[in-house]
Structures are given as C-alpha cells and as structure tokens.
Symmetry: C3
Subunit: 150 residues, 3 copies
C-alpha cells in the first residue's frame, strides 16, 4: 500500500457508498460519515486484520481512511485551515475475536490527523474490533471535528 502520510495534498474525498452525505456541518461541528481506505474510489485493501492483513498494513489503511475523512471535511468547509480541532474519532477494525492490537491499528489514523493538523489533530479516540465492514474494508474511521465555517 502507498503511505498516505507522505503526500503533500489530501486525497480527493471518496464518494458515498449509499444514501448519505460525506459530511454534515452544523453549529461549528463537522460530522463525517464512516470512511474506508479508498483510493480513487476503490478499496485499497480488504479483509480481516490479523488474518488476511497484517497490523502494519491495517495501520496504513487506517491512516488512509482518516485522510479520506479529513479530505471530506476540508471539502465541506473550505480547507483544513478552517478546522479548529479534532474532537472524537472512532476507528472500527474488522477482526477475529482473538485479535488484541486494535490500538496499534488505530494509531495509524491518529498519526494521519497529527500529520495534517499538528496540535489540532489531538483527538479522543475509540478503537473497536468488529465482525466486518462495508465491502470487506479492514478499517472504518468516523470523525467529529470543530470547524470555523458553518
């Protein structure tokens, strides 16, 4: 997988995969849809973390999903300059019952936020191991962000 953190510009935000919008902005808060590691509209990687996919690959995928979430926010509010700070991130990891390294996977998403936003990228985070994710994605990232635009 390509490493998204080294790229100087955010990816184009992925199109929704169903009847929803990528981001809703209201009252100074941006709420993103759950984002998967899509590149140019296609999932970059699929499968269960720790089984079909290594932790290192899942960590990179989490960074990509988080970057997609930020890209959607940036498009909605007019750029990352209007992000005041990250509030909460949920990182869903598709895995088996015996998987325990969710935090290492989710750190890939945390690092993406820090990479793009610096101090504003600090976030309260939940990492959760789930049965499966849409289209077989290994990770899904949902982000809540304080913004200046509305």
């Amino acid at each position: 997988m390509a490493e998204p953190l080294a790229r100087g510009t955010l990816p184009a935000p992925p199109a929704p995969q169903g009847h929803y919008v990528p981001v809703v902005v209201h009252g100074g808060t941006a709420y993103t849809a759950g984002m998967t590691p899509r590149v140019d509209g296609r999932l970059a990687v699929r499968g269960l973390v720790g089984a079909d996919l290594t932790v290192a690959d899942a960590r990179a995928a989490a960074g990509l999903a988080a970057s997609n979430a930020l890209a959607a926010v940036a498009e909605a509010v007019g750029g990352l300059g209007r992000v005041r700070r990250c509030l909460r991130m949920t990182v869903y990891v598709a895995c088996r019952p015996d998987f325990t390294r969710h935090s290492a996977v989710a750190d890939g998403a945390s690092e993406a936020l820090r990479n793009w936003l610096g101090e504003r990228g600090g976030v309260a985070r939940s990492a959760v191991g789930v049965a499966s994710l849409p289209s077989g994605a290994p990770v899904e990232v949902e982000l809540t962000v304080a913004v200046t635009a509305d």
Copy 2:
C-alpha cells in the same frame, strides 16, 4: 415484515430496555439511544443478517429502527417540525465476518430519514458489522439530530 415507510404517522417510541433514557436534548442537539426494530414493544425480527435474515428484510428492519429513533426525538422535542436537520447516524448490523452488504442494509435507515424529513433527513452515516445486538436484534440505529427545542 410490515413496511414502516408507508405509514403516515410515526410509531410510538419504544420503551428503553435498560437503565437509560431514549433521548437527551441539550444545546440544540438531540442524542438518541441505540434503537432496534421494535413494534409495540417487541422485536419485529431477530438474527444475523445474511444468515438468519435476508438483506431485504434487514433493510426494512433498519428503516423501522430509524423510524423508532425519530419517534423518540419527536416525542422529546414536540414533533418532527422541530427537527432542523439530521447530523449523524450509526447503523450497526449484526452479521458474520464474510458479510459485505452493510451499506444496502443501512440504506433502509437513510430512506426512513428522507421519508419523514425530506432534505432535513440527509445525514453523515457509518455502517458497521457487529457480532451481535441486544436481545438478538439484527440492526441498531443511533441518531444525532439538530433541533430547535431545548
């Protein structure tokens, strides 16, 4: 299963299944509890989606759960007229690790929001496949909504 979207009035909101409240309203935002597809207090359908339950049935169940969530909001704020817009919806789908059609299931919930609220029903959505849900529910829907009452 009966199709909830064709009904002209919202269902009665389900009673909580434990020590919590159906909706908290604070600062112009309504937060709902996770809602399952209950009709008259009983789960309309149970089981794992894709195994015990078809995607079509699960999609209808998701619509019912979303309608229950909206009914709870309406009761808390004095009617759907006080809903300014939907912000975020999480749709949990109980399923096996090889299930991939979460978005199709969650679309049933999205359609319910659009049916009851029109443009105000557009929402940032996460669809997630989980191991199991309370009492064997196939889907659970959690909703965050901007409201005018407080």
Copy 3:
C-alpha cells in the same frame, strides 16, 4: 473484581493506550476516548462476555470503565461538579454472535453514571456486541458529556 460503585472517590483516569488524548473539551461538551476496565493502569478483567466472563462480572467491568471515563472528564474540567449532564454513552461488549444480554452488561455503566452524578447521569445509550476490544478488554465505554468548563 472490586466493585467501583461503592468507592467514595473516582479512580485515577487511565493513561491512553495509544496516540490519542483521554478527553477533548470544546464548546461546553466533553468527548471521552473509549475506556476499558483498567485499575492502576492494568485491565482488571479480559475475555469475551458470556464465554470467558459472566454477565455479572461484565456488568461490574462496565461500571469500572464508565467510572474511568468520568474520572477522565473530571480531571479535564476540574471535577464532577462541572458536569452539567450526560448526553450519550456507547457501551461496546466483546461477545459471541449468540450473546443477547448486552443491556444487562451496559446497565453496569448506566448505574455508575447515576451513582456519581445522580439525575445528571441519565444518558442516551447504545449497547453493541463486538468481535473484540483492545488488549482483550471485555467492555469499552465512550461518553459524551455537557460541561460548564471549556
């Protein structure tokens, strides 16, 4: 397991298990990270609820995780006196597909909120059964709270 609800003072909030912060406070709302049942930095209990762990033990663990979440909020805002009210709580329960008693487990977390906060502890709650949680935790609790500090 020690019963956290009988203690007169909140536990010390657990240190983050990865690259995130325990709580973000913004605009009168505190968002916690997902908290597991840690005591003095170590998980008090591990495993899948209903398999490795009884519902009663999981319920106590959920109370402990919720107390950890409140402790983190208290540390961030200067004490529980600055909590206006609880808004939403998500209780993730690591379990098998045939588990159905999520609400009984989550009630342990709800009771902790009520114990520490009284009426302010009422909350909109989602209980969800997941494949696994970080480091093998049986439960994880995420809390959103209205606060007076900012």
